[in-house]
Amino acid sequence: MSRITRRFAQLKSDKRAGLVAYISAGDPNAEVSYEILKGLPAAGADLIELGMPFTDPMADGPAIQLAGQRALKAGMTVDKTFDMVRRFRQEAGDNDTPVLLMGYYNLVYQRGPERFCKEAAAAGVDGFILVDLPPEEADELKPFAEAHGLDTVLLTAPTTDDKRLPAVLKYSAGFVYFVSVLGITGTKSATEDAVRTHVERIKRHTDLPVGVGFGIRTPEQAAAVARHADAAVVGTAIVERVKAGLDEQGNPTPGLVPGVFAYIRTLAEGVRGVRKV
């Protein structure tokens, strides 16, 4: 059983939804980014999405675009991203919190899907969310991911209808990620009604847990999602807290890391306040 599957099973027996926290690897630099990663579980993150910075993040809004640019400018690479996860497992000794790499397929493709999966698994990564690898193209990654025990979490969107959903679910493992709005990250938010309707629809097709993301910024919104989904994913709003902790020259201030954790604690309280039956 994968770490992701174990974590969702645990959440289920705890009768609550999970909080998935997204950070951009290497934002604002490798060291501070690792400090954040290391402290995320204690701040209340149940799963972690580690964004791999890419020059052309086509599905991301300005906040995550800028986070990626800060990371790349500070010299972030795929190897250093793997290193962060390795330290998280070995130095910080966290062997329970799932870490997923999120990003765009070209970084995987350049390394070669087989080598990428092997190195990611060795570092302690549990799965991938690749924005631009729909089921139509997922065959080039899936066999290698499976061979190395990595879950491929595919995205579904409001435009993914009942006819198409099975194709998406067939390639998804660990959980399935519902993109709750039409648009890029950090712009619009879905209504609770819309989230409920779509999650119920997805659950008619699968036993996989459903994580819901895009547009969740407040503990109340996180709680609303937690009432219907198995996890709430927060990215842009966290990345904005990183930016808020930079001084005018773009250097991290002492308040950056605690500021991020304080914010995540409020989100976690929102999610954990919802008792599931």
Partner: protein, 406 residues
């Protein structure tokens, strides 16, 4: 090279792949839309009424067929191949871009879309899209890198006159690739009512095939016109390549004629060896960006690097996937020309033939200047003059140390 019983003209396969290139690497939100477009396009292709309306517009609105002009003075000056210019710069809006746009705007209307978006580099595709949207009374938003907004000011004004909204893009390198990112970001949010009119033979399937089909009017006309003028097919075809739509339009109808030598000319910017260029086939390697796998300029990790060309229309780190496939199977030769060579070609055509070529097309001419003298006098060479250079006059004047108005 493939054996003769294999055609080079049957791609892509049903998943949109040309060999390993092409495909549909887009966010899930867009996938259902891309599949809808593919279905709608297949239906339109089979609908004689669609083709009839497009043909009518191409003839009476865009002014096709464009002439195939024998450039006598250029031929004599270079002293080799007999040079014909396919005058696509004479189309309405001043380039080949209108061929594709008319087709896509008809598709938008057919699919019931009420808003059109486009990306543009030099502004030629933006102007063509704004034009067709004015004609069909559809609101139009054009994304354009802020660097290009600056260097192609006449086209920005033109788009606004035509009623389009021009949104300058400041992300990344602020050129064509960033405009395409921003158009994709808009489309993800608006896909229910919006048609994305892509300007070149790139993007997710079915765009590379659809845009190619709309541009094939260039090659199909050239075939007929050359038969009429010389009683045989051309020997050599030359066209410039950014994304590669004018080249694909000229090349594709000739791919299965083994006697026709086909050459695509990429933008070498300051020179391939400087690293500051836009020649993705010459200086790049396969990768995934903007919905397709194709040759890309990128670093070892797969981060996309910035292209450079004096020509905004060629300033793109990728290329249409079918070109990548034609490079690998060897059917088409790909070469490059620098900024300086293109400027020299620009000046030559003005003086010898009284034609101001676009800086994009000047790259094709720069190669013709090198290549034609090496060919025999009975070699029939067709160069696609894909755009006119009026838009480039201020920029060229600045390069020559003059002001456009003096």
């Amino acid at each position: 090279m493939k054996t003769t019983h294999n055609s080079f003209r049957t791609g892509p396969d049903e998943r949109g792949h040309f060999g390993i290139f092409g495909g549909r690497y887009v966010a899930e939100t867009l996938m259902p839309l891309i599949l809808d477009l593919e279905k709608a396009y297949n239906e339109a292709k089979a609908d004689p009424a669609f083709q009839k309306e497009l043909d009518h517009l191409l003839e009476h609105y865009a002014g096709r067929p464009s002439p195939l002009y024998y450039a006598d003075r250029l031929t004599k000056k270079l002293g080799g191949a007999k040079i014909y210019l396919k005058r696509d710069e004479l189309n309405h809006t001043g380039s080949h871009k209108i061929n594709n746009v008319l087709g896509q705007v008809l598709m938008a209307r057919r699919m019931g879309k009420t808003r059109v978006i486009a990306e543009t580099g030099a502004g030629q595709h933006g102007v063509a899209t704004a034009t067709a949207c004015a004609l069909f009374d559809i609101p139009c938003v054009v994304f354009m890198g802020s660097v290009d907004v600056e260097r192609q000011a006449p086209n920005v004004f033109r788009m606004k006159m035509l009623g389009a909204e021009v949104r300058p893009v400041t992300a990344g390198s602020s050129t064509l690739k960033d405009a395409m990112n921003e158009a994709l970001r808009d489309w993800v949010a608006t896909c229910e009512n919006t048609f994305y009119c892509i300007g070149t033979v790139a993007g997710p399937h079915p765009y590379p095939a659809m845009v190619r089909d709309f541009q094939c009017v260039i090659g199909n006309e050239t075939r007929e016109q050359m038969m009429k003028a010389e009683g045989r097919l051309p020997d050599t075809l030359v066209a410039c390549i950014g994304g590669g739509s004018n080249a694909m339009g000229l090349f594709h109808p000739f791919l299965d004629d083994p006697g026709v030598r086909i050459v695509g000319v990429e933008a070498a910017g300051h020179g391939i060896e400087t690293g500051q260029h836009a020649a993705s086939l010459t200086g790049g390697r396969p990768g995934v960006l903007h919905g397709n796998r194709t040759y890309l300029l990128q670093d070892g990790e797969g981060q996309i690097t910035e292209a450079h060309s004096i020509s905004a229309g060629l300033d793109y780190p990728g290329i249409g996937p079918e070109h990548s496939w034609l490079k690998e199977n060897g059917r088409v030769e790909y070469v490059s020309a620098t900024d300086d060579e293109a400027l020299e070609a620009f000046a030559l055509l003005c003086k010898l033939e009284g034609i101001i070529p676009a800086l994009e097309s000047s790259h094709a001419l720069a190669h013709v200047m090198k290549f034609a003298p090496t060919l025999p006098k009975d070699n029939l060479l067709v160069m696609n003059l894909s755009g006119r250079g009026d838009k480039d006059v201020p920029q060229v004047a600045a390069r020559m140390g003059m002001k456009a108005e003096s």
